[in-house]
Subunit: 165 residues, 2 copies
DNA sequence: TTGTATGCAAAGATTTTGCAGCATC
DNA sequence: GATGCTGCAAAATCTTTGCATACAA
């Protein structure tokens, strides 16, 4: 929670720097986003935000998430199918393991891979700015193996977390 | 070219196996796709195909590329922005370096990374089925550094290749 | 013939934008 | 007041699908 407040403060500061306003909607949206799980779609954020303030519109969520992305406080992901998904940022970088069955998203980070890719890029005359590394497969722990053939339709919204941090 | 013909033959065989027809459109589309560069969008494939047979429609390209993807002869990519992009498949797996300036796409493959990710996934109780690894940055060689501020609008279609193989 | 394939246009799904009214400075 | 924000609805994109017609087996 302290973490959430920290984010809100950073967001407020960013808005102020840009001469923009920290409105109640923006606060509610950011709160919903940071307070909940991770990797949310716009509609998921909208739903959460509406739990707190029923009148919020999709466009506002859309624009607010863009602001968060611009400010660097959120990262826009385009995983395989589906549309855009946002992830709280600011922590250190990490990559993803995505379960093809239950849709769970596990985060990971690996120094070996990180260093090695820098090396590879360098060898090919390329300067690295960012990267994405996603591994698809099946998670073998927790309540997935292999997804109680029913509940979710496929890669859904709710995203878990694990590993690192 | 021998390679293109090889692909066409494989495609024809796949269609036959499925009880589908190897029509002139499908041949032209596959030819255009395999004969040209890599990582093409549907519209790019359409344009190339129309150079050979002006009457081809978008829907036919759309459906043909789906067939190629299903057959495993092409891979559907969803790089950052933009929409879907297809890449000729059948070779061994590889990943991508994408230049943020000129849009060039460089392919690479690295045993160290490949093995390491298997390891990481295993440690997290995850079985790997596939993965994507994309590095974004700037290419420092050839005619890019840094893109003669004009020509291309941004990440475009034409894709180069390099490294490995 | 008989079942596919094609091309066009319409339908869907998402993502963006325009605007009138509201809120904040 | 002036400028920025919101919510709604319309617009713009992209991706899929329905269908009548054209083909291939």
């Amino acid at each position: 929670m302290s973490d959430v407040n920290e984010r809100l403060k950073q967001f407020a500061r960013y808005l102020d720097d840009q001469g923009l306003r920290y409105t109640s909607q923006r606060r509610v949206i950011a709160e919903a986003f940071y307070g909940s799980g991770k990797h949310l779609s716009l509609n998921e954020v909208l739903e959460l935000a509406r739990d707190k303030q029923g009148s919020i519109g999709f466009a506002t969520v859309y624009r607010t998430m863009k602001l968060l992305a611009e400010s660097g406080l959120a990262i826009e992901h385009r995983f395989d199918e589906d549309g855009v998904r946002y992830e709280p940022a600011g922590h250190d970088h990490h990559d993803h393991l995505i379960c093809n069955r239950c849709g769970r998203i596990i985060e990971f980070e690996d120094e070996v891979v990180e260093r090695r890719q820098e090396q590879v890029a360098k060898e090919l005359g390329f300067r690295v700015a960012s990267h994405r590394h996603e591994i698809y497969g099946e998670c073998l722990r927790d309540p997935c193996p292999y997804e109680s053939q029913s509940s979710q339709g496929r890669v859904t919204g709710v995203a878990d977390t694990a590993a690192r941090n």
